[in-house]
């Protein structure tokens, strides 16, 4: 006998559900939750607002920007959906939330690529058939077309790449020469004591410093390699003025010159300031060193949650998010501006928009960067980060 969706409820409620015929209505926990959320929404507005009820409720876990009304409203209108958002402020947090049970409510996820890839082994993502997305991939830059290895798990595609950029040194050319940042050496130069900003964004500042130390963080690391990571982080903290988690705080410091350079960020940090006219704020990828590229390419990807009850609509929404029109909006937001994987969007950029996004520089950055993916020893490196930070007190 198969287990019903309401089998865990007390007998009284089971009888009520059966009496109401809800047991035959294909009701699922997901649908019940969504109906409850919709009912709560109607109750909150007193039912006085004359919206027609959308046929399908969907939930989208994403970074801010993907929820832009200019992207979502046309989809809602065309598909009679009502998409609610679960905005994430950090990718690990979003992943943890999915693991904790949010996967039962969420249909689509747009997050940092390694965390989307991790949804594969965690059993959270619906494996995608690249043939179903042939029309999407046809518009992509070659670099992100399948088989796109960083988004594969056991040879299966977990998600589709959406937005990308590079991590390097963020500097203000009015106070620091671009030529000085051909390497990360200024981070360790004693004359820059208390002038370096390190982004407090999990693994992001650790990975470029490991590359600078001659360690490839995307390979399995032994104790000796981890010791090198420890040494480079210790040296970095000596010159660090501040660890910053807030984007605007770092942007302000770069603009007023109180911070010479920011480590652990890149185009994600500089582009919004450039959009406001500060073209002196740039993100530069250092030259290769010790046989290792020094920049890192970050990619955001979108995946369909395995437990979705709307796989077709979720696929449609995924395709909509990576479309040319959505991509243009997504790449030029107020909070951050970044290039997207859809090649067609480039034709829509004005010269000013290309300058904001540093389109002329992006392939140089790409060619001199490692592709960000799951770093096998990231937890060891994060533990070292905590230890060295405590020791630096």
């Amino acid at each position: 006998m198969s287990k019903t969706w309401y089998g865990d409820l007390p007998k009284y409620y089971q009888r009520q559900i059966a009496a109401l015929g809800l047991d035959e209505a294909g009701m699922t926990r997901r649908r019940l939750m969504k109906s409850a959320a919709a009912a709560a929404g109607v109750a909150a507005f007193g039912g006085s607002i004359g919206h027609a009820r959308a046929a399908t409720q969907m939930q989208y876990m994403c970074w801010e920007g993907y929820n832009d009304a200019r992207i979502i409203d046309p989809f809602n209108q065309a598909n009679d959906t009502d998409i609610s958002f679960d905005l994430i402020v950090d990718s690990p947090g979003g992943f943890a939330k999915l693991q904790a049970g949010a996967s039962r409510e969420v249909d689509l996820v747009s997050s940092d690529m390694p965390w989307v890839t991790r949804m594969g082994p965690a059993g959270l993502a619906l494996e995608l058939n690249p043939d179903d997305y042939a029309d999407v991939y046809a518009t992509f830059y070659d670099q992100f077309k399948p088989p796109f290895e960083p988004l594969l798990h056991d040879g299966k595609t977990i998600g589709v790449a959406t937005r990308w950029g590079w991590v390097g040194a963020c500097i203000n050319t009015d106070v620091s020469k671009e030529e000085d940042w051909k390497s990360y050496d200024p981070v360790f130069d004693a004359k820059n004591k208390d002038k370096i900003c390190v982004m407090d964004w999990g693994d992001w500042p650790i990975l470029p410093m490991a590359l600078h130390a001659g360690i490839n963080p995307y390979e399995e690391l032994d104790d000796a390699a981890l010791e090198e990571v420890r040494k480079v982080l210790r040296a970095m903290f000596k010159n660090t003025r501040t660890l910053v988690a807030d984007l605007t705080q770092a942007q302000k410091g770069l603009l007023d010159g109180s911070l010479l350079g920011c480590i652990g960020a890149g185009s994600y940090l500089t582009s919004a300031v450039r959009k406001q006219g500060h073209k002196n704020i740039i993100a530069r990828v250092p030259d290769p060193r010790n046989g290792l590229k020094q920049g890192i390419i970050w990619v955001e990807a979108t995946a369909i949650v395995k437990e979705t009850d709307q796989p077709e609509l979720a696929q449609k929404l995924l395709k909509h998010v990576v479309s040319k029109e959505s991509g243009h909006i997504l790449s030029l937001l107020d909070t951050t501006c970044n290039v997207v994987t859809n090649k067609g969007v480039e034709q829509l950029y004005s010269d000013e928009e290309k300058s904001i996004l540093e389109v002329d520089y992006m392939w140089h950055a790409y060619d001199n960067s490692e592709m960000h993916r799951i770093a096998p020893n990231i937890d060891d490196m994060l533990a070292i980060w905590q230890e060295e930070l405590a020791a630096a007190q």
Partner: protein
């Protein structure tokens, strides 16, 4: 029915009935989550996923790595400093409000309450704008002839402490104020009649009688201090993390829930232990004084 003056025992069903809602609420919303947190500490993670396998790995990790204890010690030290500063600042303020500025005390209390109710994030970032190298404070000092960037303590522990004291001061001001306001004025007048100076009367009468307020405010500020993460991150520049930030990092960045839960338990137990210890010392001193 339990009559007035009758001894109350746990065998009386009415007492049970009265206590039940409170016990149920405490069990459901405090003890059960706490128990879950404790159980979580005996699990493991693999590839950022929780493994329901009983293990002591997390606890052995905590007791074998000194940096957790360095950060905990730093947290306790900063919290103790914050409590001391809050009490030192609040005492004269509360005393003035209760005795000297009675006509204006309503307005002052409203102002303190407004400042207290203003979002802590807003206030903390406000301090950054004020204290920054290129901020308002240095700009004003430079305009009146001081050298540039004279105030340079942003992104230090001092800035963290400033933020903590600023955000938590209201707790000690109001608890001490209530204590002082409730002191029987005739006791102070009696001290004057007995020849005590103003300082002596304050030291011998007002201060001992305002101890409950000082103690309550100190406990509140201490408990809130051990949990701060905004001030060390924003004003302290994140270079001297406190326990709450370590816990956040462990839960969110490392996605290591058992370790995060264990660090939470360590912080809770330590904070409660410190309070019980001081409570004991306070009781002993009070009984000593009474004897």
């Amino acid at each position: 029915m339990i009559g007035e003056g009758e001894p109350k025992g746990w065998r009386q069903p009415e007492l049970w009935a009265k206590a039940l809602p409170s016990v149920a609420l405490q069990t459901l919303f405090f003890l059960a989550p706490l128990l879950m947190t404790v159980l979580l500490t005996f699990q493991e993670t693999r590839s950022f996923m929780l493994q329901w396998a009983w293990s002591l790995k997390t606890w052995s990790d905590i007791f074998s790595r000194p940096h957790y204890w360095t950060i905990l010690w730093h947290t306790l030290w900063m919290s103790a400093l914050c409590v001391a500063l809050c009490v030192l600042i609040s005492l004269p303020v509360a005393y003035a409000l209760a005795t000297r500025l009675q006509s204006m005390s309503g307005h002052v209390k409203v102002l303190i309450t407004f400042a207290f109710l203003t979002d802590a994030t807003l206030k903390t970032f406000g301090w950054v704008l004020f204290l920054d190298q290129k901020g308002a404070a240095n700009f004003l000092l430079e305009r009146i002839g001081f050298p540039p960037a004279m105030i340079g303590f942003l992104y230090t522990d001092w800035a963290t402490l400033l933020g903590m004291v600023y955000n938590l001061l209201a707790f000690t001001i109001f608890t001490i104020y209530l204590s002082i306001a409730n002191i029987d004025r005739s006791l102070i007048l009696a001290a004057y009649d007995a020849g005590a100076s103003k300082w002596r009367a304050f030291w011998e009468v007002t201060l001992p009688l305002s101890r409950p307020g000082i103690w309550t405010g100190s406990v509140l500020v201490f408990l809130l201090s051990v949990g701060v993460f905004l001030e060390p991150k924003v004003l302290g520049g994140g270079k001297s993390p406190m326990s709450a930030e370590l816990i956040r990092q462990t839960f969110e960045t490392r996605v290591n829930w058992p370790l995060g839960a264990a660090l939470t338990i360590v912080l809770m137990v330590t904070a409660v232990f410190v309070i019980l210890l001081f409570n004991r010392v306070y009781s002993l001193r009070r009984h000593g004084a009474a004897a």
